[in-house]
């Protein structure tokens, strides 16, 4: 059941990195939504290698083929099945990996869990799996646009280069002006330099993505186990290499006093109730309060270095893997649209679920 995400809007995915295709089924899309296929394809393309700095040169087209659920340009309310063919899979590259475990990869844990694995390029554990999330998320994004919700993510840290301004002091229209998807030109330049430095050393870098969700009405989200904090957290922590999730002031709350952390109410010009600050990140008790929802996701560095890598064979004996294949120095810029996709799936699902709770 762990290949399905969502309660009302449910994405089920399948596919190994080097099998014939990846794909999925998005069930629960309301009927009657016009779908713009070029916009969907463009969204999926943002994840592609080569679309950012720090990424490999491999360019796989990731052509989305929709097989059902959309007729004459409009959703039918039936499940949307789709596939993305693997066109450039060169399995031969990976024959050396059949009997070894790379450190900080999922080779060993998949083998332990399943007793066998598709060793080619990580198989199901490959970050290539996220292409199905991009398709589902891209469709969810079009639903959210219809609902007046926008989702914007950007790179907020790569190695020691990090943004210090809050998101609302940045010009987010700059995000796509550079190869690292950072809205601050100077910090973006530092990130590019850090990536080049790491590349020259055969090393890799971690980083973080910040995401802002705007336009969610007050009162969206569920109590107790279904809090927005929790569903967004699960969504983000399910992305490959994600190791931390923070909502609002996040980890900074630990060192704060209550008197510093309170978001005091203030009347809005339109008569609604707003808050003067937004430490909470737009969520109180798991439910949206009408302010921007924002959060940060931290990613560990890519585990494949372009150096000789100490690995283990099936008996646990040490061995060495020589660098080969195509690998990103830093995946964080490519993770930006994946964070958006997972946020879109989470919010669209939550907003549809909301409707089922009305008398």
């Amino acid at each position: 059941m762990s290949n399905t995400f969502g309660r009302i809007l449910r994405l089920t995915t399948f596919g190994e990195s080097h099998g014939p295709a990846l794909g999925g089924v998005l069930d629960g899309m309301p009927a009657g939504l016009p779908i713009r296929p070029e916009e969907l394809q463009a969204f999926v393309n943002r994840r592609s290698a080569g679309s950012t700095g720090g990424s490999t040169q491999r360019r796989e087209p990731d052509q989305v083929e929709v097989l059902s659920g959309i007729y004459e340009g409009v959703t039918l309310g039936t499940p949307i099945g789709f596939i993305v063919r693997n066109t450039q899979a060169r399995s031969g590259d990976y024959e050396a990996m059949r009997d070894i475990y790379r450190p900080s990869h999922a080779d060993y844990t998949y083998q332990a869990k399943y007793g066998l694995r598709d060793h080619r390029g990580g198989g199901r554990a490959s970050a290539r799996e996220t292409v199905s999330r991009m398709v589902g998320g891209g469709l969810a994004m079009q639903l959210l646009q219809h609902m007046g919700v926008t989702i914007t993510a950007f790179t907020s840290q790569i190695g020691s280069a990090r943004l210090t301004e809050p998101y609302n002091k940045l010009n987010l229209s700059n995000i796509d002006n550079n190869s690292v998807r950072c809205p601050h030109p100077e910090v973006a330049a530092q990130m590019v330099a850090a990536i080049e430095q790491a590349r020259s050393e055969g090393d890799t870098l971690g980083g973080a993505v910040t995401c802002v969700v705007q336009g969610v009405p007050t009162g969206v989200g569920e109590p107790v186990f279904g809090k927005l904090n929790a569903t967004l957290g699960a969504a983000m922590m399910s992305i490959n290499a994600a190791k931390a999730f923070e909502v609002g002031s996040g980890c900074d709350f630990a060192a704060m006093k209550g008197s510093e952390a309170l978001d005091l109410f203030e009347p809005c010009p339109d008569g609604a109730i707003g808050t003067a600050t937004n430490h909470s990140g737009g969520v109180q008790g798991g439910i949206s309060n009408g302010e921007d929802i924002y959060f940060k996701v931290t990613f560990k560095p890519v585990a494949t270095l372009m150096r000789d890598l100490p690995v283990a064979d099936r008996q646990g004996h040490p061995s060495v893997l020589h660098p080969c294949g195509r690998h990103d120095v830093c995946v964080v810029p490519r993770a930006v649209p994946i964070v958006e996709a997972m946020a879109a799936l989470t919010l669209a699902d939550t907003m549809l679920l909301q409707r089922a709770g009305r008398l």
Copy 2:
């Protein structure tokens, strides 16, 4: 559906802070497990006010009454229903809150979502809700003990007082030697002092809890959306006031190079495969690798200060709430067993689900 947690071992909870009772149903416990009721009650008592420093003086017994699923001291495999009566609820204290919204509480968001609310003590949004998690988690803990898994949480930060050593350099048997549940005596003393200082100022403090899970076999966890990172993340972020979740090196990964972050394999004395370091926190690709699983949860400061508090009325007009009632200065020590309970529910559920995947 958001009042149910888990896939195989499923806890469904109910109850408002000032209603007749809280309670829940734990479905999916295997049959034949002897249950030690005193141990369960003792675990639940760890959450109680007065059990730690920083907490209110209110002492509610939180007496667990098991209604089904256990017969002659052993689980039947049928759902375990339980209730905890609210014995000290003094609703009158809360009459003033009927028409106001406290800042950084869920009053406003519940009202917006549901159109009405039980205003007494936060209703369903009260942290008192977690008593049902303690019962479910305490039962899951007894199952995990049977499976050889232990879970240990402790306070790692309160305000500016924080542990700097990793958990494996600490003597975890010291956790209950002080009122803040911190295993390091000096840091514990700093935490106690910080709480007293905040109390004297009518202020509150945030903090963090670290949790270590030991004994989980290699290969436990699910791929893609069901990664251990994601299910643990959802579990922790569903706890009241939780605002950040980090696995392994967590946020520190953002500034790390790949060459610093790799957990290289090394043979274990027993022939198994281990790793020399454990930045990953025991999880690769969402699946356990046999190392300790550890993570950190950050909590925001208590939102009710013992000062005059600026609040909003239903029209958004400013008003003032005078301090009254009983409120914790810092909930982090009380959150320690709640983190354990949610970790126990998550791990027990995952380990049972694992069995369903074997040929």
Copy 3:
């Protein structure tokens, strides 16, 4: 997970026949619905022994105690927890059953599945379990009334006494005018006589319940696996002793020609589209067509006879159980409100789910 029913409106139940209490949690009720507690209690009482002919004389009050989710007479949108205490449980009656398996009961299968069981009165397998369904169903019924939907069930067969008229030729206001809940006075008299005859022989009788759901708007239900046929079927076949489920013309369809079975359209006076006949039972492709939804559920005879009963001991050796305790001759009249309760839960859930599918 099999102790939870529903997708949006979810009933989770617990309780053994002779434990301290049965109960459950109804999650997903929309906020703001006024609840009439006396009506709920009266609905639950319809299931009680002694409420009908054919039933035992045991009178257990089945007092419903609501513990959460309703405040000041109105639903909060939070889970409704409830319990029903077992007040007349005389476990001593059942000591003889600890080591034997009664034929056509679940003693043997529970023992095989779980390795142990609560042998007292059937434990979790007792029909007493349905009291929790009555509470959940009674609440769902109040929601449906708000939505304009009514549910009416009646006894359509007991032994060889059976109704031959279709439901719409009967005066359904007669249902509660006799002890067998059959709306046709002559057939009801035959049923009463059949029960008395069986009672005098120490025997028992099977039968059937017919249920009519009126007021469901056109277009309610889900496609494919979630068809109304399927969800109603699962609901009904989950009731103790249910062995057959038929929608519309049901089993009679097997011998029909297409030209006899078609429900031709005809314009309704109000401009809507109706059908001249209703063989389909109000459902096409799993979705309501605005006609009455009707179905029939067949129940096997009570398996406990008031005769010496050949049983098996744990080794499979034959033994004899002497009649004791209190047992119904025919449960079908008591099953009438249980069918209503499960229909109410199914329809209310489906109608709430419907809302989540709108753009």
Copy 4:
């Protein structure tokens, strides 16, 4: 969520009758199971038009393309994605149906539910949807074979031609010896004649399928809402045109006395406990008792006659549809493998879930 079936072994399907492809994802298959693709394709072919008497002449190859989850001939434990292209879709045939509703079809109900529909050949409501169930069910069947479980279905009634012997008096190896999949040669001949008669009249026929599941160990199934009766019932009632479901003696129970219906225990030669009769159909309290599990599913006649058909247009005004396209006279023989497929999915899922319940 209604396009997903199962709890542990979960089939999610997609596809419209005349879209590019149908397909699905089977999640939860244990790793390490060798898959025989020719056997899978042969199973899927059993559903095809032209494979039986009573069916249309349209021969669509229904070529299964597996896209993931199987590597080097063995399951990986990851989701199995698959598609079946629609190769012979002639949408032009259906243009006349864009604005009319056929009686006893789902045209009107889909339009009412979704506000729009793919009118070509029934779209998602077409029985062609079941091809995805055949793929999922065929894979489940291979898992069940590994577990020692066999599933055999056959036609037990078409129109007035019906089997009167119980399944265990029939030679089930005869099932595929005739075009109607009936194991009794004389009755099969009557069925063939009935179909030819109906065809000559431009009419259609209903019927029934009986299914026998053998080899399920004692103790499989869940209590309360997850009873085998209920999950099998939901599975069968979700098949297009299914209108009744009976377990064991089914509807006959209504007229039986308890003394006639009891399945008395008797020791088996192998020391296990068996029953002398099997009215219960192998299920007690929702859990298998080691006897054969058998049940019957009744299907209504095909709603498209080869006659001028009175239909309604969108305003409800009467219109006439001239016969066209390719339509079965009786789908029951083609439903035989679909019943097997759904039974296989249900049993495999239940047996995997069983494992999660062991200490």
